[in-house]
C-alpha cells in the first residue's frame, strides 16, 4: 500500500468557552491516500466539517487545534503561519462546498473567479489564466464552457455552479481535495452526475479525497474508506464495503437503519372515500411586463388532477422546479390558481372568499421545510401554535391550554413558554407539526418537512407524523425530493416534471415498476441504490 498523503494524528479541536462541549473534534486520527476517497460520515455537530476545516486551515474564529498533528507529506500543518498555510491552500489542498448557490461571488464573472486561483499563487499571465479557466470548465463537463466563463453565477444552475467550484478547486492540481457535503443541496439526478465527476477526476489525477457527508447512500456510491463520527469522536472506521454491510458500532447501525429503504414501505392502504379533489389545476407565474418589457411566463403547475382519499398519504416527488411546491401552495391557497378546482367536500378552495375561506383554511394546514425561518423568533412557541385557533375565535386561555397539550403530544411537554431559538431543528419541526394540528385539519400538506433534518431525527419526525396521521385520521400530502422518504411513508406517489404529472400510482408500483422514463431516471440516480438492493 502507498504511503498516505495526509496523516491526521490525535487531532483535538477546542471550542470556545460556553460551547456545548469542550472539543469539536476529540482525539481523532485518520489518513488520506492518493487515489482514494475517504468518506467522513456523521450527523450535524459530529465534528466532521470542523476536521475538514482544520485540514484547510479555515477554522472559524475562536476555534483552534489544541493538540495533535495534521501532516501533509512531510509537513505538519498545525502551527504553520497564516502566510504559509495560505500558500498551501488551493495549491496542494483544495476544497469544495455544500452550497453551490452561495459559494461563488455573485458580482464576478466565472472566469475571473477561476483566474483568481492562479493569481493567488502568482502563476500564469492574466490572459493565460482566462484561457486555462475555459479549459478547466471543459474538463468538468460544462456545456459551452466559453460562454459559461463569461457568465455570472446567477446565470448558471446549481449543478453547473458546483462544477465551477470543482473546476476552481482542481485548477492547481492539488494532491488533496476536501469536499464538504458537495451534493447535499442538489437534485438527485444532478447529485449523481457530480458524484460521477468527482470520482472520475479523482481517479484521473490520483487525488486523495476527504468527502464529508451525512448520507450513507452517497457513501455506498463513492467511498473507498469510511470514518463514522459522533460528537467529535470516531466511533467506527474501515473499508466502505465492510462498514456498510457489517457495521460494528451501534451508532453506525442506527444511522444505517434510519435510512428509508427504497421499497414501498407498506402496502397501499385500502382506498377510502375521497376527501379532496383536484381538477385540472394550473398555475402560471408571470414576471416583467413593464412599460417596455415583455411578460415572461413560467408554467409551474399544468393541469393536475388528483383525488386524495381520507386518511391517505400522497407523495409528490420531483426535482427543483418541477412545480411540486407550487402545487402544495395552491392546495392550501397560499397562492391563487389560474385554472381548475380544488374541492374539499362541496367547497372550492380556489374560489372561496371571506368567512368560507377562513373555515377552509382551518381544514387544510401546512408544514414548511425550513424549521428555522418558519417560526417567528420573537414569539413564544405556545403562542405561535395558539395563534390559529385564536384567529378562528377560540378563547385565548383555552387555545393556549390546547397548544400545551399539542406540544406534549409531539414530545415537547412544557415547551410553550420558550422561544424558537432554544430548540434544535428536529424539535422545531415538531413545533411546526403541532402548529399545523392546532386547527384540527383534515388535510396536512408537508413541503419537504424532513429535508433539513439529520437522518436519525428525520426518522423520528416521520414516525411522529405517521402516528398522528393514523390517530387523527388525517390525509397527508407529502412533498419531497427524496424518493426514499416517499417510498417509506406514502400510499400513493405522484411524480412531477416541469409542472406536469408524469406518473401516479401506489408506491410499490411507482418504485418497483416505474412506467415513465423520467421516474426511471430519478430512481436510477438515487445514491447507493445498488447497496440497497444487496441489503434487501
Amino acid at each position: 500500500m502507498t504511503d498516505p498523503i495526509v496523516r491526521i494524528e490525535n487531532l483535538k479541536i477546542a471550542l470556545p468557552e460556553g460551547a456545548d462541549r469542550p472539543y469539536a473534534v476529540d482525539t481523532c486520527s485518520f489518513d488520506l491516500f492518493p487515489g482514494k476517497i475517504l468518506c467522513v460520515v456523521g450527523e450535524s455537530g459530529s465534528g466532521k466539517s470542523m476536521s475538514a476545516n482544520a485540514l484547510m486551515g479555515l477554522l472559524p474564529e475562536g476555534v483552534h487545534v489544541s493538540d495533535g498533528r495534521i501532516r501533509l507529506g512531510e509537513r505538519d500543518l498545525v502551527g504553520l503561519t497564516d502566510e504559509e498555510m495560505r500558500d498551501l491552500r488551493g495549491r496542494r489542498v483544495a476544497m469544495i462546498f455544500q452550497e453551490p448557490l452561495s459559494a461563488l461571488n455573485p458580482l464576478m464573472r466565472i472566469e475571473d473567479q477561476i483566474a483568481e486561483v492562479f493569481e493567488a499563487h502568482g502563476l500564469l499571465k492574466p490572459a493565460e489564466r482566462k484561457k486555462r479557466a475555459v479549459e478547466l470548465l471543459t474538463e468538468v463537463g460544462l456545456p459551452d464552457p466559453a460562454r459559461a466563463a463569461r457568465a455570472y453565477p446567477h446565470q448558471l444552475s446549481g449543478g453547473q455552479r458546483q462544477r465551477v467550484v470543482i473546476a476552481m478547486a482542481l485548477a492547481l492540481e492539488p494532491e488533496v481535495l476536501v469536499a464538504d457535503e458537495p451534493t447535499t443541496a442538489l437534485d438527485v439526478t444532478t447529485q449523481a452526475q457530480i458524484l460521477e465527476l468527482i470520482r472520475t477526476l479523482q481517479v484521473e489525477r490520483n487525488m486523495a479525497v476527504m468527502f464529508i457527508t451525512h448520507d450513507f447512500g452517497v457513501v455506498a456510491e463513492i467511498a473507498d474508506h469510511v470514518t463514522v463520527m459522533q460528537l467529535g469522536k470516531i466511533v467506527e472506521e474501515g473499508p466502505a464495503a465492510k462498514v456498510l454491510s457489517n457495521p460494528q458500532h451501534p451508532y453506525t447501525r442506527k444511522l444505517i437503519d434510519a435510512i428509508p429503504k427504497l421499497r414501498a414501505g407498506r402496502a397501499a392502504a385500502p382506498a377510502r372515500e375521497p376527501l379532496m379533489e383536484v381538477k385540472g389545476v394550473s398555475k402560471t407565474y408571470r414576471s416583467g411586463g413593464g412599460l417596455f418589457r415583455p411578460v415572461r411566463e413560467v408554467h409551474a403547475v399544468k393541469d393536475i388532477n388528483l383525488t386524495i382519499g381520507r386518511g391517505e398519504t400522497i407523495g409528490i416527488v420531483g426535482e427543483s422546479g418541477s412545480g411540486k411546491s407550487s402545487f402544495g401552495r395552491c392546495l392550501v391557497r397560499l397562492q391563487d390558481t389560474d385554472e381548475g378546482q380544488i374541492l374539499l367536500g362541496d367547497q372550492d378552495i380556489t374560489k372561496a372568499q371571506g368567512k368560507d375561506l377562513q373555515e377552509l383554511r382551518a381544514k387544510v394546514q401546512m408544514i414548511f421545510q425550513d424549521p428555522y425561518s418558519s417560526l417567528n423568533p420573537r414569539i413564544r412557541v405556545g403562542r405561535t401554535i395558539a395563534d390559529g385557533p385564536i384567529a378562528h375565535g377560540t378563547p385565548v386561555a383555552q387555545a393556549m391550554a390546547e397548544a400545551d397539550a399539542l406540544l406534549e403530544r409531539v414530545g415537547l411537554p412544557g415547551a410553550g413558554k420558550r422561544y424558537p431559538h432554544e430548540f434544535s431543528g428536529g424539535q422545531r419541526q415538531r413545533i411546526g407539526i403541532a402548529r399545523a394540528l392546532a386547527l384540527k385539519p383534515q388535510v396536512i400538506v408537508a413541503d419537504e418537512a424532513v429535508s433539513a433534518l439529520d437522518v436519525s431525527i428525520q426518522a423520528q419526525v416521520l414516525e411522529l407524523l405517521d402516528e398522528l396521521k393514523r390517530e387523527l385520521d388525517l390525509s397527508l400530502v407529502f412533498i419531497t425530493h427524496d424518493l426514499r422518504v416517499a417510498a417509506q411513508i406514502c400510499d400513493r406517489v405522484m411524480v412531477m416534471q416541469k409542472g406536469e404529472c408524469v406518473e401516479i400510482g401506489p408506491g410499490s408500483q411507482v418504485f418497483d415498476n416505474p412506467s415513465h422514463p423520467y421516474t426511471r431516471s430519478l430512481i436510477e440516480a438515487i445514491p447507493g441504490k445498488d447497496w440497497d438492493a444487496e441489503a434487501a
Binding site: 495560505r86 491552500r89 461563488l104 461571488n105
Partner: protein, 322 residues
Amino acid sequence: MLRFILGRMVKIALILLAITILNFCLIHMAPGDPALVMAGEAGDADPKFIEDLRAQFGLDKPFIVQLWTYVSHFATGDLGFSYRQQMPVSELILDRLPATLLLSISAFLISLILGVVAGVIAAARQGKASDSIISTIALLFYATPLFWMALMAVLLFSVQLGWMPAFGYETAASDMTGLARMLDIAHHLILPSVVLGLFFMATYVRITRASMLEVNRLDFVKTARAKGLKPSVIQRRHVLRNAILPVVTLAGLHAGQLVGGAVLIETVFAWPGIGRLMFEALQSRDYNVLLGVFTVSAALVLMFNLITDFTYRIVDPRIRLK
C-alpha cells in the same frame, strides 16, 4: 439598455408633471395673497389697484386656468417671471444652482468616502477600541444639530483660528479670475461642505460596517480563502464589492435629500444657493420662484435616483442581466 432609459425617462416626465401640479395646488391652498403683499409694499391698498395687480398677473382667472397656464409654460421650460426680482424664474434658479450643486456634491462625496472608509476600518477591527471610537465619533456628528455644528465650526476655524472664511461663496469685490478664483471658492467651500458631510457620514459608517460584517460570513468569502487569496484581496474584491450594494441604495436616497439639506447650511454660511433663494421667496410670497425651486429640486431628486439605478446596474450584474 435603451429601452430601460426610455422607460425611465417617460416615468420621470410623468412624475415631474404630477409633482408640479401638486405643488401648484398646495401653494394655492396656503394662506396669503401675493397681490395684497405687493400692494402693501407699494404703500397702496386701494381695492382698484389690487384688482389691477390681480388682472395683470392672471390671478383673477379660475384656478384651473392658472394651473393650465403654468403647466403648459412649464412644458416648454418656462418657469414664469418673478415680479419681485424682475427676472425670469429660470434665470434666477440657474444663477443659484451651481453654488448649491457644488456644496451638495462636495458634502455628498465627503460623507460617502469618509463614511465607507471609516466603516471598512471599523468592521476590520470589530470589537476593538478603534471600532468603538469610529462609531462614537460618527454618532456624535450625527446627533449634534446641524446649525449648531456649523456655528461652532465658524467660531473655531474662522473666528478663533482664522483659517477659513466665515461665510460667503467667494471673497467679495476681489476681482479674482481663473485659478485664483477657483481656489478662493474652494477655500470658502471647505467649512460648509465638511460640516454637512460629517453630519451625513454616520449612516454610511454604520451601514458599511454592518454590511461588511455580514458579507464576511458568506460562503464565497470562504471559497476565496480556500483559493489561497491574500486577506487584503479578499476584503477588497469579494467583501467590499458586495458590501457596497446597500451603501449605493442609501447614497441614492441621500443625494436627493442633500439639495434640501443644504438650506440650513446655506443660511448659516450665507451661501448663495437655491436653498437661500427659496427661503427669501417664501418670506416674500414670490410664488413663481417658490414653485420653480420646488420643481427644480424635485427634478434633481429624480435625476439622482436615475443615477443610483444606473450605478446599481453597473455594480450588480444580477440586476443588469435580469
